[in-house]
């Protein structure tokens, strides 16, 4: 039977939630699933991985893995991948996955598709967005070993019970001294929820009018655990930092609900959020293009509607 390896990305000592989505694609075809753990403790996450079809875990032990070093992590993943005998490797298209998978693919000259929204491991095929969501492409990969990056929130996790073995391997790892990580600068968090992981997102556009007014969106979002995004117009006007930008040259998100507040709906913004399950627009201009692209619309001033929405959300929570 074919074997599929999945890179188990950790966050604050636990398996990152979206990894269960990746595992869902991995176990769907009936393949054996092998989890590759580079950081944290494999025994500690065994239980949760077993619920999603993982039947073996390979943990790479090395002091070199204590802190993220791109080259070292790639080499460690390669060692585990080869040890596993898998013919596919899946990982999340997260910030870490975006750095790790291409490094592995480049080093071994393997085919790689990033940000797939559907992965069919048995057939080595994927569906992924092209032209910022204006088309989907069905792509097939061939070769003895194929790599797949999975876009967060692409599938509802499906459980599959398994019993997992845990194996530790020692790997000699040395860092590439040409690239040295000097420091990690932590930004004071604007909200608790990461945009690309959020199930609910509220975004503000140019109509917000000032950086201070964004607090109205944060206040409303807080009640339902939503992340807060911004349009390029809001970012360019200095109302929000770039890391909040959703759209073609910002983040691509696919939450269950995307609430666009005072966003006119440029094609480029739509490109970053069109795969949201439900899109809601609040805008005082009834002719705003966003109303052609959303599922539900409220024609009204955001400064009237958002505070009301905030009250209803507060009742819910």
């Amino acid at each position: 039977m074919s074997k599929v390896a999945v890179y188990i990305e950790m966050k604050e000592g636990e398996v990152r939630k979206q990894v269960f989505e990746v595992l869902t694609f991995a176990h769907r075809g009936g393949s054996d699933v092998c989890g590759i753990v580079l950081e944290g403790d494999a025994e500690g996450c065994k239980g949760s991985l077993e619920e999603y079809g993982v039947s073996s875990i390979i943990q790479v032990k090395s002091n070199a893995l204590a802190n993220y070093d791109p080259g070292v992590y790639a080499d460690a993943a390669i060692a585990a991948l080869k040890h596993s005998g898998a013919d596919s490797l899946l990982a999340l298209t997260s910030a870490q996955g975006k750095d790790l998978l291409p490094r592995i693919a480049a080093k071994l000259k393997l085919p790689l598709i990033m940000d797939a929204t559907v992965v069919n491991v048995a057939e080595s095929s994927v569906v992924k967005s092209h032209f910022s969501g204006r088309a989907n492409a069905e792509i097939s990969l061939s070769g003895d070993l194929k790599l797949f990056g999975v876009r967060p929130n692409s599938v509802d996790p499906e459980a599959k019970a398994a019993n997992a073995t845990v194996e530790s391997i020692d790997v000699d790892l040395s860092s590439d001294r040409r690239v040295v990580l000097k420091e990690v600068v932590k930004k004071e968090k604007l909200g608790k929820v990461e945009l690309t992981e959020a199930k609910i997102i509220m975004s503000g556009g140019r109509a917000i009018g000032s950086a201070e007014n964004f607090s109205m969106i944060f206040e409303c979002a807080k009640h339902i655990g939503a992340a807060v995004g911004a349009s390029r117009a809001a970012v360019d006007s200095g109302y929000a930092p770039h890391e909040m930008q959703v759209g073609q040259t910002g983040k691509t998100v696919s939450p269950n609900v995307y609430i666009a507040c005072g966003i006119s709906g440029a094609v480029q913004h739509f490109a970053g959020m069109k795969t949201s399950k439900v899109i809601v627009a609040i805008n005082k201009n009834p002719d705003a293009p966003i109303f052609n692209k959303c599922d539900y619309g409220i024609v009204g001033d955001i400064f009237d509607v958002v505070p009301e929405l905030s009250k209803v959300f507060q009742e819910l929570s």
Partner: protein, 256 residues
């Protein structure tokens, strides 16, 4: 000092994508320089201004006929010359794309820095920069929002998640993949466009470069998303509309 900028011409962000058949799009649309590559070029030009006269900025592009216009734009922005490699296939395997770009650079000269965009907005492959680096055995850092040149090395900031940044020191030569936030690309002035036409263009065919084309990844078919039905507009006072919206989201579509 040779500074290379790998760029791709991509379908304009506003262009409507139509299909000729399963695997080909209509190419009579506007093509533009990939926006992330514009940032890469701008950074290269700023570096040249800092490094002085002996620095040279060279554009490298692998693409269809539309790259002529894109290279001209890059030359008008200030690049010194360009290298183009022709293909008719808009959807090449990334293994091939990187091998072609790396081979063209190798044939041309010794790079000090290779800049490119962190991904292209057409196929969203997110890997070419890494593969170019591997082909040439150079260090690479992607997602760069800040770049500082200090002689034999560079210091870069790379965005990770939640606005956190990793600061790397990278020795030259290296590959740097640009993210938005790095700079604001300049607009070429009209006289610069006229001068750009006189700048040297080297044309290579893929056969000149000795690259074996990979077919490990192949496009099976495009599927255009269906048109969205018109939005349901929720009426009433702000308070009523807010309450009704939450009811719909919670009870009808069950997403809250």
């Amino acid at each position: 000092m040779k500074i290379y900028v790998c760029t791709k011409s991509v379908a304009d962000t506003a262009a409507t994508i139509k299909l000729v058949d399963d695997t080909h799009i209509q190419e009579d649309i506007k093509f533009i320089m990939n926006p992330y590559d514009e940032l890469a070029l701008e950074e290269a030009l700023q570096l040249k201004e800092k490094a002085g006269e002996e620095a040279e900025v060279i554009l490298v592009s692998y693409g269809n006929n539309s790259i002529g216009e894109v290279l001209l734009q890059g030359l008008a922005m200030g690049a010194d010359r360009s290298i183009r490699i022709n293909t008719t296939n808009l959807f090449n395997d990334h293994i091939t794309i990187a091998a072609v770009l790396a081979a063209a650079i190798k044939k041309d000269g010794e790079p000090s820095i290779i800049f490119t965009g962190q991904h292209t907005i057409d196929v969203e492959g997110m890997q070419t920069a890494y593969r170019i680096a591997a082909e040439l055995d150079l260090p690479i850092v992607s997602n760069i929002m800040k770049f500082e040149y200090n002689g034999d090395k560079v210091t870069v900031n790379r965005e990770i998640e939640g606005g956190d940044k990793e600061v790397y020191e990278v020795s030259l030569p290296c590959v740097i993949a640009a993210n938005r936030g790095l700079n604001e690309p300049r607009y070429p002035k009209l006289p610069a466009r006229m001068q750009a036409k006189k700048k040297p263009v080297t044309v290579y065919e893929i056969a000149d470069l000795g690259v074996d084309e990979s077919s490990a990844v192949s496009l099976t078919k495009f599927i255009l998303p269906p048109d969205k039905p018109p939005a349901k507009i929720i009426g009433g006072s702000p308070a009523e509309a807010a309450r009704e919206l939450v009811r719909v989201l919670k009870e009808e579509v069950r997403v809250l």
